[in-house]
Amino acid sequence: KEEPKKEEGKASEFSVAMVTDVGGIDDKSFNQSAWEGLQKFGEENGLKKGKGGYDYLQSQSDADYATNLNKLVRNDFDLIFGIGFLMTDAVTEIADQKPDNKFAIVDSVVEKPNVASITFKEHEGSFLVGVVAGLMTKTNKIGFVGGMEIPLIEKFESGFRAGVKAVNPNATVEVQYAGAFDKADKGKAIASSMYASGIDVIYHAAGATGNGVFSEAIDLKKQDPNKEIWVIGVDRDQYEEGKVPGTDKSVTLTSMVKRVDVAVYDLATKTKNGNFPGGQAVEYGLKEDGVGIAPTTKNNVPEDVLKKVDEWKQKIINGEVKVPTTRDEYKQFEASL
């Protein structure tokens, strides 16, 4: 259970809460990250967890989003986050119904005056890990495992492929979708077939399905410690997930981190200070430090590669390189190389 927070910060004038999708605040992904941001905000402002402070509600099914958002409205939270693109409709609807309340949505855009939208340039972060993969691969065969084939994940895919191609035109990227974000068995089977076919780096954007990718890589590594195979994590720093038991090594090459916590913290602070960006869509990219590669990358990636990554990062930030977000854009990007 939650450790009791400082009690003196009694019902202050500003309260904030979020609704997670079914993943919950410990999904090792954006829900967890968002909650970390909210916790940080709450603690720094002396709020307590619960009504009148900061809080979250977890949804048990798609049908719960609206109910949970509504519940938070009823509990008079000043700013209410819907976490995840799945919540788009529910946020749109409640924003209409409660025009006097302030809402925010992460990973999607809702065009309402009382909704602030937060999205990320996942393609930019993916591009960077793509650069890492392209430079680190020995076999010139790289894999991408997506959760579901939806536009959001397509952004990861396109950015990643662009990053690989940019630094290593000879490398091929094999793309597979598991069809779900919670099918570790499929993740494992896909990883197994990819590694068996000579792929040595797999980037997963597949939530819990990615657990299977990690488990396969770890098992292979345990069987043959000399095997050079890697996983690239997503959303958070997944270095720990890649730890090979009995060693201090990790199969995690790098991770594409998405700073939902930063964005959530940011927006909550703005709103508290009376600068609620209602009706706006704020996009967090490399420039805003909203996406990037994990600091643990240095454990497995040599200095010169990191340097290259930094160069590309600068190019993206100053607009020299426009990272593709769809497959069509990727085709153009590829042609332009």
Binding site: G24, D185, K186, K188, S192, S215, D219, Q223
Partner: protein, 317 residues
């Protein structure tokens, strides 16, 4: 082509192993006349117990942990299945209803405990899993060695061996004969001095034990943690495998391997050149469509044990 088989077959076997264990459990239970659609829930308990044990005791037991976790999961799931046994055998419950209750309870209880113990919706990742192995000697056989005996997990091979053991037990030993008698005609068994209730209790608990193993190896090898999504439908697939295999241990194993094969084909298929342009949805539904086709085409009707689903009440005609 061989290369493709080297990819498909080991992954088929690893997909199939938890299903084989669980389906064999189902064979015991249903052969004794007790419907067990609670297999899903029993797998959940197995997965939960296996992961929690592994996380808690990995430091003490080291490499032995996953095996001990498997045994503990077996015991706990078997105790849990007692609920189904009491309801279905002693309390004459509708066995389907009781099985549904088991499924709900297993998931609710284990997630409740996870929240209580770990303060979150899922456990951490287990650190000590089963190792991938090449079976000595056998894996050196040309052609089939790499396909069948390399890159596998010991529990997977154990599952296949167990199917033969179960076959032996059910068809060659007095215990098996009595078990089948109880499932076909409990009153006849009763008049022959066989304790129907006792046989059924044993059978249901065996089903719990085996489903517990199935769940725990699934969680340890594949998901590595326990959450609401760890076991999602595998128990039902095992049930299907058991019916598909006509309540026969080797049939159930064959069906489970078939599911594993279809599943693995649907994944690896995306990488096979001539399947590459097939829309993914066709590959995704492949395992399920193939199963239906197989049932329709060449398996035909399966006869369930005659007394399946009916509580035995002494002296009732």
């Amino acid at each position: 082509m061989l290369n493709i088989l080297e990819i498909i077959i080991p992954s088929a076997i690893f997909f199939a192993a938890p299903l084989i264990f669980t389906a064999l459990g189902g064979v015991f239970s249903e052969r004794s006349g007790v419907v067990n659609i609670g297999l899903e829930g029993l797998m959940v308990i197995g997965a939960f117990t296996g992961v929690v044990f592994n996380l808690t005791f990995a430091d003490q037991f080291g490499q032995l942990t996953p095996w001990l976790a498997m045994l503990v999961a077996m015991v706990v799931a078997s105790i849990f299945s007692l609920m189904h046994a009491v309801a279905a055998i002693s309390l004459r419950a509708d066995q389907v209803v009781s099985g549904v209750a088991i499924n709900f309870l297993a998931l609710g209880l284990s997630l409740f405990l996870v929240k209580m113990w770990y303060g979150k919706g899922q456990t951490d990742q287990v650190q000590v899993g089963f190792d991938k192995i090449d079976i000595p000697i056998l894996s050196k056989i040309p052609v089939i060695g790499p396909i069948l005996f390399s890159n596998g997990y010991l529990p997977s091979y154990l599952a296949i061996v167990l199917a033969f053991v179960v076959w032996y037990v059910i068809y060659k030993t007095p215990f098996g004969l009595r078990l089948r008698a109880v499932g076909e005609h409990p009153m006849a068994a009763d008049t022959m001095g066989i304790n129907v209730a006792k046989m059924r209790y044993i059978a249901v608990m065996l089903s719990g034990a085996l489903a517990g193993i199935g769940g725990s190896i699934y969680a340890t090898i594949i998901s590595r943690d326990f959450s609401h999504a760890t076991i999602s439908g595998q128990g039902f697939m095992a049930l299907a495998a058991m019916i598909f295999g006509k309540w026969h241990p080797l049939g159930a194993m064959g069906a489970a391997l078939f599911f594993g094969f279809a599943q693995s084909l649907s994944i690896v298929g995306q990488a096979i050149p001539f399947l590459k342009n097939v829309p993914t949805v066709y590959l995704l539904i492949l395992p399920y469509a193939l199963t239906i086709l197989a049932l329709t085409g060449f398996i035909g009707r399966a006869d369930a044990p005659k007394a399946l689903g009916t509580p035995y009440v002494k002296g009732k005609r």
